[in-house]
Symmetry: C2
Subunit: 120 residues, 2 copies
């Protein structure tokens, strides 16, 4: 049996893993587009390096957020799809996207003020 | 006037900033405890280095998520409090904590299976 402190540590560790820029961006792309090949993900998110994308989808697969299907063809074809768990996280994170959409002007105004103050 | 692509880029950039483990952990601590001194934050989150905590609260201040109050006493006293914007993000992110609490067993089971398969 897990006690409260153990569960809290587990939850903190999971938040640490999923509160990650690239995980969120890949989650969003798969939520919007459905199943995608590695190369499609790479084209959809040009800012991410191949190495970082490989690492991100592998971690997401390990956490059960995406499923990976390999086709035995030449050249090899690999497809990624969100699992039910991945859809759930995407839904939960949706509130943060809405918050960012609603508040981006306020954040930019705060940054402008901070930078003016810091430059004095 | 900003067009749709510009707003999308802004929102993506903001998600990239706030989808960050330490930002989330500091947000959670301030939400639970209210105003906190730097040393209190540091004690509450022993896993974070002083350097990373300094960087995190500075970025959060710049983004308008926390306000910082410096008291002219010796030794100097610095207090951090969530702003309305910070409370809003904390609320939006709440869904992700609930998701993690609900699903930690599934995630650990997925990891166990993945590791068994990878070890073959």
């Amino acid at each position: 049996m897990e006690n409260k402190a153990e569960i809290e540590a587990l939850v903190n560790e999971i938040i640490g893993r999923v509160a990650d820029k690239w995980t969120m961006v890949v989650l969003e792309a798969l939520e919007a587009r459905g199943t995608m090949r590695f190369t499609e993900l790479s084209q959809e998110i040009p800012e991410i390096s191949q190495k970082m994308l490989t690492k991100t989808v592998r971690q997401m697969e390990r956490d059960g957020l995406v499923s990976r299907k390999v086709y035995a063809v030449i050249p090899p074809k690999v497809e990624y799809t969100l699992t039910a768990l991945g859809h759930g996280l995407s839904e939960a994170f949706c509130g943060v996207w809405i918050w960012a959409e609603k508040n981006h002007a306020k954040i930019h105004e705060a940054r402008r003020k901070f930078d003016v103050k810091a430059a004095r």
